[in-house]
């Protein structure tokens, strides 16, 4: 997309195709290129970086001969600054998201290994496939709970002194990621509580109502606005917001809040008790009715109100009794004696809500989802089945058209319409690859259709399933950050078709400059049994260190990789080096490297020679200093001369070094056979000298003759000495 340089200081204005999106974000760029600008290129760099290249026209007049910048490339980070970020909603920052990503790895890996072992058992004994297995959904539930805990804990801190005037309890701010996760868990996983689905939705709404909309009001926003106002209110019951808040909270079943708010009523104040006795009685009666409302659920968390009924018959009995009480209070004669008009109307409104008056419920709620929940509570407590719920949801949306949709409501509609594709699309669109990858296990826990749809290999996706596709996408996201790439292999390894190939590419792309990071990469290779990859990485690391002068580390990696070819080449280079400096006896410096080669010669390739050469030199020095026997030195010499890995060009230096030793003794140092061997080598050398590829060394020209003389005299003495 070509950008158009504007007149005002060279800002680049991107064109967004869609009108009505508001003004496109403008980002000034300091490129330092004087106008006129001839061409602009924009391309994506890694991550959020955009590369913008600005060029001047070629051959434009050079001005006063000064060298002008003819073009420059500027990197623009689109991530920071947050231009046009209208999302005032809670945003999970990157570090927090990484914490979630790390935390979900063990749970995911555990579930995969359980799935694999169940699948293995299934193929062995021809029992039903994994999702039909009894234990399976419990495993999935455990997984879901573990991940849910990572996303934040909705329970308020236990030890907290609360102001009695607090309406909404202080909690950790909920995130829509957690809301979405819980929603999927409620609908797809938790079989235990399937019968109490409506009540679970009511609970969900209580936790996440604040996330539903930032544009239109919700019960949560009504209450939090009233909370702010509360401090300045003298007589609460005169304020219409008080009664609105009460009816709103009651309509979505936040009974504890309703009862708490009712107690703010002025008639409770000691100085007014006497003349507002009836009024107070009515308020208290409503509060009691609210707190004893029957709920079709097994239990209630502490602090929540209502009476639990585990079974339908129990619930119907309790419900009828309670409704009877509500109706009775509604028809009571005490209302006439109640002097306060607003109290009377407000309380009656609450009673109508409890009696399930559709109009009152519609008025009290703001968002369609709140209306939906109020239907479960007061009109159709027995709603079961997705079809009925979906129908109800459609009706609620018609009644509350203004509430619009966001990610969460879209997700709910997708779930209710039993359309896995929609659910998946909503998750992808709104909650990102992390959620999709991990929620896939929830969707398929107990749903054969979803299981088939997500696991079917599709030719249009290159032969991979939708599940694998999303895992690969998520793994790519992880790979793009240098701190999270290490957890990507867990996900790649769960992708049967393309995962391993991508894993190899990922491992080979890792930086090799730092030994510790290389070792971390190699550890992953070891875990996934990728020996060939680890060998390649070790070779690359070896070459890098060798090139940067860390010869020891280079040799170490080549040895680890069993790379004979490279070791031999290194050996040749070292021979050149040693061949020149052999006389200064600077072996001390080589000590470390030679030590590295170790006594186990096998892996050292051509470097084996260096090790023996070092031993010979050491011993020779000691023999000349008369610190040890000359015989040992001669043994080293013979070994070296016999060994085929000793390069020919070292023969003469070796022999020349020993001349002094040979001449220093009166008795022969070698027997006849050994001397003959050395003489033969010397002869071979003289022949080789005639060949063009012979590499000469820096020894004096009479070296050969002096060696020959020393050997000959030794031979003579050896023959004489031979018995």
């Amino acid at each position: 997309m070509p950008g158009m340089p504007t007149d005002g200081g060279g800002a680049i204005v991107p064109f967004t195709g869609e009108p009505g999106q508001g003004a496109p974000p403008v980002r000034p760029i300091r490129h330092g290129v004087a106008p006129p600008i001839f061409r602009t290129y924009v391309s994506w760099s890694s991550g959020n970086l955009l590369q913008v290249a600005c060029l001047r026209p070629p051959n434009s007049e050079g001005g006063g001969g000064t060298v002008e910048v003819v073009g420059s490339v500027v990197e623009v980070n689109l991530g920071d600054g947050g231009s046009g970020g209208s999302e005032a909603e809670e945003k999970i920052d990157e570090a927090e998201m990484r914490r979630i990503e790390y935390g979900s790895v063990p749970a995911f890996a555990l579930l995969q290994s359980r799935k694999n072992s169940l699948a293995d058992a299934a193929t062995m004994s021809h029992v039903p496939s994994v999702p039909d297995h009894e234990e399976w959904w419990q495993y999935v539930l455990e997984y879901s709970k573990t991940i849910g805990n990572l996303l934040g804990n909705p329970d308020p801190p236990v030890f907290m002194i609360e102001d009695p005037m607090t309406i909404l309890k202080f909690r950790e701010k909920p995130t829509s990621l957690r809301a979405a996760w819980e929603l999927l868990e409620i609908f797809y996983v938790d079989k235990h509580l399937q019968g109490w689905l409506p009540e679970r939705l009511v609970d969900w709404l209580a936790d996440f109502d604040s996330l539903l909309s930032t544009m239109v009001s919700t019960v949560y926003s009504k209450l939090s606005n009233f909370q702010k106002k509360l401090i300045n209110l003298q007589i609460v019951e005169d304020d219409p917001d008080y009664w609105n808040g009460l009816s709103a909270a009651l309509s979505v079943g936040w009974l504890d809040i309703v009862v708490n708010m009712l107690r703010f009523h002025g008639s409770y104040q000691l100085d007014q008790m006497d003349n507002r006795e009836t009024e107070n009685g009515l308020v208290e009666a409503v509060a009691v009715l609210v707190s004893t409302m029957p709920r079709l659920r097994p239990n209630l968390p502490t602090g929540k109100l209502g009476q639990c009924c585990k079974t339908r018959p129990d619930f119907i009995k309790a419900w009828e009794k309670w409704r009877g009480q509500v109706t009775k209070l509604e028809c009571s004669a005490f209302w006439i004696q109640c002097g306060h008009q607003k109290t009377r109307d407000g309380l009656k409104n609450l009673l109508h809500i409890m009696m399930g008056n559709v109009n009152k419920l519609t008025d009290a709620t703001s968002h369609w989802l709140e209306l939906f929940a109020s239907h479960f509570l007061y009109i159709k407590p027995f709603t079961v089945g997705f079809e009925g719920m979906h129908h109800l949801a459609q009706k609620c949306i018609q009644l509350k058209p203004s509430s619009g949709t966001n990610g969460l409501t879209g997700l709910i509609l997708g779930v209710l319409s039993e359309n896995t594709e929609v659910v998946l699309a909503e998750c992808t669109k709104n909650f990102g690859p992390w959620l999709v990858t991990h929620a896939m296990e929830l969707l398929t826990a107990d749903n054969d259709y979803a299981d088939v749809m997500l696991h079917e290999e599709r030719p249009n996706l290159g032969g991979i399933s939708i599940e694998e596709l999303h895992r690969l996408v998520y793994a790519q996201v992880l790979c793009s950050h240098s701190l999270t790439w290490q957890i990507a292999p867990t996900y790649l390894s769960s992708c049967l078709n393309q995962g391993l190939g991508l894993l190899e590419i990922l491992l080979l792309k890792q930086p090799i400059q730092d030994n510790c990071l290389v070792l971390k990469t190699l550890e992953i290779c070891r875990l996934y049994e990728l020996e060939n990859v680890s060998t390649i990485i070790m070779k690359i690391a070896g070459i890098y260190h060798w090139k940067h002068g860390r010869k020891g580390t280079g040799v170490y990696w080549f040895q680890q990789a069993h790379d004979k070819v490279c070791l031999d080449r290194i050996a040749q280079q070292l021979f050149e080096h040693i061949g020149k400096s052999v006389t200064d006896d600077s072996f001390k410096q080589w000590e470390g490297l030679l030590e590295l080669l170790g006594s186990d010669i096998g892996s050292a390739g051509g470097l084996e020679f260096l090790h023996r050469y070092r031993d010979f030199k050491k011993s020779l020095q000691q023999a000349l200093d008369r610190r040890c026997g000359a015989r040992q030195t001669v043994d080293f010499l013979i070994q070296l001369m016999k060994n085929p890995s000793t390069p020919q060009r070292f023969w003469l230096p070796l022999l020349h070094d020993s001349v002094e030793l040979l001449n220093s003794k009166l008795s022969p140092l070698m027997n006849v056979a050994e001397t003959t061997l050395l003489l033969n080598k010397l002869q071979e050398l003289s022949m080789a000298k005639l060949r063009p590829d012979f590499s000469s060394n820096h020894l004096p020209s009479h070296a050969i003759s002096s060696v020959r003389l020393a050997l000959a005299s030794n031979l003579a003495r050896a023959i004489l000495g031979d018995p």
């Binding site: 990157e94 570090a95 927090e96 990484r98 914490r99 790390y102 935390g103 790895v105 063990p106 890996a109 950050h481 240098s482 701190l483 290490q486 730092d514 030994n515 510790c516 070792l519 971390k520 550890e523 070891r526 260190h545 940067h548 002068g549 860390r550 010869k551 020891g552 580390t553 040799v555 170490y556 040895q559 680890q560 410096q589 080589w590 000590e591 470390g592 490297l593 030590e595 590295l596 170790g598 006594s599 186990d600 096998g602 892996s603």
Partner: protein, 349 residues
């Protein structure tokens, strides 16, 4: 794995490479302190730094010192906190933790080129040993001026990954493939003994990552390195290193892990199971951390005692010298863990 009450994880929102206890002083108002070398590639020039963290709330650093590159070694002495980096520099933060008073030795041809992983504080001088094969003694950090003296230049022929003082005149180094060296300053600043380690099963050689020397037994080094290898090296028998753990060793020791052993320290808290004989030949208990997430105490001829088995690597750990029951460790997944060992936990053993 659920967190037990004795182990707490604290997320730090950046990669934690190294962590150490700082000597606590009674004057410090914030209680016990930790030093952590952190790295966050997203934060541009401030990517690497040393944070001083209060133990009570490790999430909010009290002070920090910016480093030119990722920290590769971190040690503290009573006078200063020292950090070496992957670009070869060395930084000292005085114990007042005033980052303006920090002094440094820049990396480069005059000092180290490339990562310096061997760093230890002696009585007067610090020793540094780098992957470039150089060994330096750095002294005079207290009066504000630092002087580095080159002891040895290996010219890259060998690379060092660890260094540890044994006495004011002796120290040990270790590195890639070259095992452990014992240096004696009285003998011309030279290597006087050498040990190639105990790697086995076709692995001819390995990398030494960490060395520790017990203050009361200065002739014994304990060494941790590649392939889960931990061995002790007694200078009195330099040819026979004593295996404590490792892969493919025939029966003498059970491997506590199979991956890199990043750090080893003598554990002064764990009582040796055989107190009478420990006075003579037994190697004292050693704590180790590894790439596969193990924090354990190993002892000669004993089953290793696992303290933690994390899902991610434990890159570094430290035992509080003043309260040896407390251990802090740096976890790969951007957090630090604080483990408190109680008397009852040890009784179960």
């Amino acid at each position: 794995m659920a967190d037990s009450p004795s182990f707490r994880r604290h997320p730090l929102a950046s990669s934690v490479d190294l962590v150490r206890w700082l000597p606590s002083s009674s004057t410090s108002p914030s209680g016990r302190l930790l030093a952590a070398a952190v790295h966050d590639p997203t934060s541009g020039p401030a990517a690497s730094s040393i944070h001083l963290l209060p133990l009570s709330d490790p999430g909010s650093p009290l002070a920090s010192l910016q480093l030119p590159s990722r920290a590769t070694a971190l040690r503290c002495s009573p006078a200063a906190l020292a950090a070496a980096t992957s670009s070869g520099s060395l930084h000292f933060l005085p114990s007042s933790f005033d980052s303006d008073a920090a002094v440094s030795v820049p990396g480069g041809a005059g000092f180290h080129v490339g990562p310096v992983r061997g760093l230890d504080c002696g009585e007067e001088e610090w020793v540094t040993a780098g992957e470039d094969g150089r060994v330096h003694l750095v002294g005079g950090a207290a009066d504000g001026r630092v002087v580095a003296r080159r002891l040895w230049d290996g010219k890259g022929m060998s690379g060092y990954e660890a260094a540890r003082w044994a006495s004011p005149v002796e120290f040990a180094t270790g590195g890639a493939g070259c095992g452990v060296q014992w240096w004696d300053r009285r003998k011309g600043d030279a290597v006087v003994a050498q040990c190639n380690g105990i790697w086995g099963r076709g692995i001819v050689t390995g990398m030494v990552h960490s060395i520790d020397i017990h203050p009361s037994r200065k002739h014994i080094c304990v060494v941790g390195g590649s392939s889960g290898t931990i061995f002790a090296w007694d200078l009195r028998w330099p040819q026979q290193p004593i295996p404590l753990s490792g892969v493919g060793l025939n029966g003498t020791a059970e491997p506590v892990c199979e991956s890199e052993v990043w750090e080893v320290l003598f554990d002064t808290y764990t009582q040796s199971s055989d107190i009478i004989s420990s006075a003579s030949a037994r190697i004292l208990p050693v704590m180790m951390c590894s790439e596969d997430g193990i924090l354990a105490v190993v002892e000669q001829d004993e089953r290793p005692f696992e303290l933690l088995a994390e899902a991610c690597a434990i890159n570094s750990f430290d035992i509080d010298p003043q309260n040896p029951s407390d251990v802090v460790c740096a976890l790969e997944w951007e957090s630090i863990g604080v483990l408190t060992r109680g008397r009852d936990a040890m009784a179960e053993e």
